[in-house]
C-alpha cells in the first residue's frame, strides 16, 4: 500500500513527542541520585505506578501486534491477549510483594539478597540484557511500521527516530520520567481504544465496507485434465498457471497487465488475488503494475452477513455482545498468504478464503490445533501459552517497577491496578482486531498496521490520534526496557559483579552510557527484523524470560535448598536453551532464507523444553552444592 502523510497526523505526532520530551526535561533536573535514576526514588504512588505498569506492558506487541494478528487470524490472535494477561496472576500472587521486600534497583538484588554471589549478579545482568534486547526488537519494528504511514518516512528512519528519542528520555531523567511517560501513554491508550471500539460496534457490519472499496472479481473457468483452458470473460487471456499442495494459481493478462488469480477447482471459479511479483531483473510489480499505480488494494470484508438467522446487507448500531454474535453467524473474506516461484517470477500471493464466523472466533486459523493437527503443532501451542503465563513475572522491565513504589503493599496494589487496566485493554483488542478484519483497511504486507488503519477508516483525526498514541506506546515500553538494561549494566555488572563500588554519581553516568549502547543495538536489530509480526517476536522474549529468570525467582522464594550455584546454572541454562531453540526454530529458518521444514525442531516457541529444563538444572545443581553456595539452616525467603 502507498501511504501519504497528513499534516494533522504529523502535527499530533510532534505534539506527543514534544510532551514526552518536556516530561523528561522536567524530571531530568530533579534526578541526581542512583535511586532516583534507577527506581524513581521509590516514591511513586501505587495508582500512578499501576497505570505506568500498563503503559509499560501494553507495548507495540499488545496494541499493534495483537490487533494485527486478530485481524488476520481471528481468535488465535486473542490467545496472546489471554496469555499476556494471565501472566500477571503469577506476578501478583507469587512475585510482587516478596520481590519488593528483597530488592533495591533490579531483580538481581532479590535473587542475590541472601547469597552475595558474583555468579548470580553476572548471570542476572546478562539475562536482563538478553531479554530486554529481544523485547526491544519488536518495539522498534513496530515503530518503523508506524512511521511509514504517519510521516511518509522509510522504516529505518522510524526505528532510528524512536531509538534517538528514547535514548534522550532515559539519559536525561531515568525511571521517573519513564514512569510518567508510561502513565500518560497507558491512560491515553486505554481511553482512545474505548472510543475506537465504541465506534466500531456502532458502525456495525456491512457487505461493502465503504464506498470505493475494491470490488474483487470472480470469473468462471473450465479445466481439462486439471489444467485451465477457458475463462468466462474474453478480456482476459491465460498466461500461465502454477499448482502446489492442492492450491491452483492462474496468471491472467488483461490490457497488458499480468496478474495471478486463485482457481478454486471444485467450483471452477477464479477469484482475484493480491500479488507482489519480483522479476529476475529485480523489478517489483504490485498486482502486475508498479506500486505507484495503486493497484495493490487494502482488503478485509464480510462475505455473507447473518443477523438473528436472516441474511442482511448491513447491521448498524450493535453492542459489544451483538457485534460478536453477528460475526459468529456470518462469513468473512480473509486473505491467505503464500509464496511460490514460476519461471522468472518470485510470487507472493494473498488469495481470498471465505471463512465462517464460528471459525474466526475459535482456535485454529493460526495455531494448527484443530482436528488433523500434528503432535508438534499442539506442543507448539502449549509451549507458547506456557511462556506467556510464566514470562510476565520474569520480565526485567516489569520487575524493576516494583522498586518505584514505597512498600510491598503498594507493589501489590499497583499490580492490581495494572491487571485491571491491562485486562480491560486486552478485551478491547478483540473488537479492534475484528473491526479491522471486516473494515476493508488491511494492508496484507503489514499486519502490525491494522489498528491504526482501522482508526483511519473513521477519519484522519482518529488515525492521527491512534498513531501518535501507538508511537508513544513504543516510546514508553522502550524507555522501560532501556532503564532495566542500564540498571543491569551499572548496578549488577559494574558495581556488584566487578566490585568497582561506583559513587552514586558515577553509577548514574554508567547507567546512561549503558542506555546509549542498548539503544543503538535496539536500532540496528529493529531495522534487521523489519516485517515480522511484533506479537510473535514478543512471544519469544517471554519464553527467554520465563526460562532464564522465573525458575530462579520462584525457587529462591519457595525452596530453602536453593543455592547460588543452582541459580546461576539455571539462568545460564534458561538463556542458552531458549536462545538455541529459537535459532533452530522453523520461523528463524524462514528468516535465514531456508525452508521451515529444514529446521531440526518443529517448535517455534521454546518454553515447553527450556522452562522445565531450567527448573531441573536449578534443583540438581542446588542439591549438589548444598555446602558451597548457601548458608546452612536458611529457609526460603518468604517463609
Amino acid at each position: 500500500m502507498i501511504y501519504t502523510a497528513s499534516p494533522l497526523a504529523v502535527g499530533i505526532f510532534f505534539a506527543v513527542v514534544a510532551t514526552v520530551l518536556c516530561i523528561s526535561f522536567y524530571f531530568g533536573r530533579k534526578t541526581t541520585s542512583a535511586k532516583g535514576y534507577f527506581a524513581a526514588g521509590g516514591t511513586i504512588h501505587w495508582s500512578v505506578n499501576g497505570i505506568a505498569f500498563a503503559g509499560d506492558y501494553l507495548s507495540a506487541a499488545s496494541f499493534l501486534g495483537i490487533c494485527g494478528m486478530i485481524a488476520f487470524s481471528g481468535f488465535d490472535g486473542f490467545l496472546y491477549s489471554i496469555g499476556y494477561l494471565a501472566g500477571w496472576v503469577v506476578a501478583l500472587f507469587v512475585v510482587a510483594e516478596p520481590l519488593k521486600r528483597l530488592g533495591k534497583f533490579t531483580f538481581a538484588d532479590a535473587l542475590d539478597s541472601k547469597f552475595n554471589s558474583r555468579d548470580i549478579r553476572l548471570m542476572a545482568a546478562i539475562s536482563t540484557l538478553v531479554v530486554s534486547i529481544f523485547y526491544l526488537i519488536p518495539q522498534m519494528v513496530g515503530a518503523g511500521a508506524l512511521v511509514t504511514p504517519l510521516l511518509g518516512l522509510p522504516h529505518w528512519v522510524g526505528v532510528t527516530l524512536v531509538g534517538g528519542i528514547v535514548i534522550f528520555i532515559v539519559t536525561t531523567a531515568g525511571m521517573k520520567s519513564t514512569t510518567y511517560v508510561q502513565f500518560l501513554k497507558g491512560a491515553l491508550l486505554i481511553v482512545f481504544s474505548v472510543v475506537l471500539v465504541f465506534m466500531v460496534v456502532d458502525r456495525g457490519v456491512q457487505d461493502v465496507p465503504y464506498e470505493g472499496y475494491h470490488d474483487f472479481i470472480t470469473l468462471q473457468a473450465e479445466l481439462t485434465d486439471g489444467s485451465i483452458t477457458y475463462v468466462s470473460d474474453p478480456a482476459y487471456t491465460i498466461a500461465g498457471e502454477y499448482t502446489e499442495n492442492g492450491l491452483h494459481f492462474v496468471k491472467l493478462e488483461k490490457d497488458g497487465i499480468n496478474n495471478w488469480w486463485n482457481l478454486e477447482t471444485d467450483t471452477s471459479t477464479l477469484t482475484e488475488a493480491l500479488t507482489i511479483v519480483t522479476l529476475d531483473d529485480g523489478s517489483v510489480l504490485f498486482n502486475g503494475a508498479p506500486r505507484e499505480d495503486q493497484l495493490f488494494y487494502p482488503v478485509g470484508s464480510m462475505h455473507r452477513i447473518m443477523a438473528d438467522g436472516e441474511q442482511v446487507e448491513e447491521v448498524r448500531g450493535l453492542n459489544v455482545i451483538s457485534f460478536l454474535a453477528v460475526i459468529q453467524e456470518s462469513e468473512v473474506v480473509r486473505f491467505i498468504a503464500d509464496v511460490f516461484t514460476s519461471g522468472d517470477e518470485k510470487v507472493r500471493i494473498w488469495y481470498q478464503e471465505i471463512t465462517p464466523g464460528n471459525e474466526i472466533l475459535s482456535p485454529g486459523l493460526k495455531f494448527h490445533i484443530d482436528e488433523g493437527s500434528s503432535f508438534a503443532d499442539k506442543m507448539n501451542f502449549i509451549s507458547l501459552m506456557l511462556a506467556l503465563f510464566f514470562g510476565t513475572a520474569a520480565l526485567p522491565h516489569v520487575l524493576i517497577r516494583y522498586y518505584t513504589v514505597p512498600t510491598p503493599a503498594a507493589a501489590r496494589k499497583s499490580t492490581i491496578v495494572a491487571i485491571t487496566a491491562i485486562g480491560f485493554f486486552y478485551i478491547l483488542t478483540l473488537y479492534m482486531g475484528l473491526g479491522a478484519m471486516i473494515s476493508g483497511v488491511l494492508d496484507v504486507e503489514s499486519s502490525n498496521m491494522s489498528a491504526p488503519l482501522l482508526a483511519q477508516s473513521f477519519g484522519t483525526l482518529m488515525f492521527a490520534i491512534i498513531s501518535a498514541i501507538a508511537f508513544a506506546t513504543v516510546l514508553g515500553t522502550v524507555s522501560g526496557l532501556i532503564v532495566a538494561s542500564s540498571g543491569a549494566v551499572a548496578h549488577d555488572f559494574i558495581d556488584n559483579f566487578l566490585g568497582r563500588k561506583l559513587t552514586d554519581h558515577k553509577k548514574v553516568i554508567a547507567g546512561k552510557l549503558a542506555a546509549v549502547g542498548t539503544g543503538i543495538i535496539a536500532i540496528l536489530l529493529g531495522i534487521a527484523f523489519k516485517g515480522m509480526n511484533v506479537a510473535f517476536l514478543v512471544g519469544l522474549a517471554f519464553a527467554i524470560a520465563a526460562s532464564a529468570n522465573l525458575p530462579s525467582i520462584l525457587m529462591v522464594l519457595f525452596w530453602e535448598k536453593t543455592t547460588a550455584k543452582g541459580i546461576a546454572a539455571s539462568i545460564t541454562t534458561g538463556i542458552i536453551s531458549a536462545l538455541g531453540l529459537i535459532m533452530l526454530s522453523p520461523s528463524m529458518f524462514t528468516r535465514y532464507g531456508l525452508e521451515a521444514s529444514a529446521a531440526p525442531l518443529p517448535l517455534d516457541n521454546p518454553g515447553i523444553i527450556s522452562i522445565p529444563l531450567s527448573f531441573a538444572v536449578l534443583i540438581i545443581v542446588s542439591l549438589m552444592t548444598q555446602d558451597k553456595g548457601k548458608p546452612q539452616g536458611e529457609k526460603a525467603l518468604t517463609s
Binding site: L85, F105, E329, L361, T407, T638
Partner: protein
Amino acid sequence: MDHGPAVEYHECDELLKYKQKAGLRLFFIYSGIYGVFVLLNTVFPSMMESVIFFGLNLAIVYGIGLILIAIILGLLYNYQCTKMEKRLDTSSSKTQGGSE
C-alpha cells in the same frame, strides 16, 4: 555471606505467611482454570466452537472470562491482604499507598 535485602520492611511472620498462603491458593485456582482452557483448545478444539449464550461461543466466553477472573481474583487477594494488614496493624499497613 548474607548481605540481606536492600530495604527493610517490618511485617510480622503471621502476615507474611498469610499473604503467601492466600497468594498461592489463588495462583493455583487460576492456574487450574487456565490449564483447562489450554487443554480444551488442544484436545477438544471443536468444543470451543459451541455456542454458549447470547450467540457467543465457548472460546470467546472462556477467553474473556479468564481475563475477568484474573481481575476478580486480584481484587479478592487485595481485600484479604488489606484486611489482614489492618487487623495486625503492621508498620507496612500504616504506610501503604506511598506518596508522590
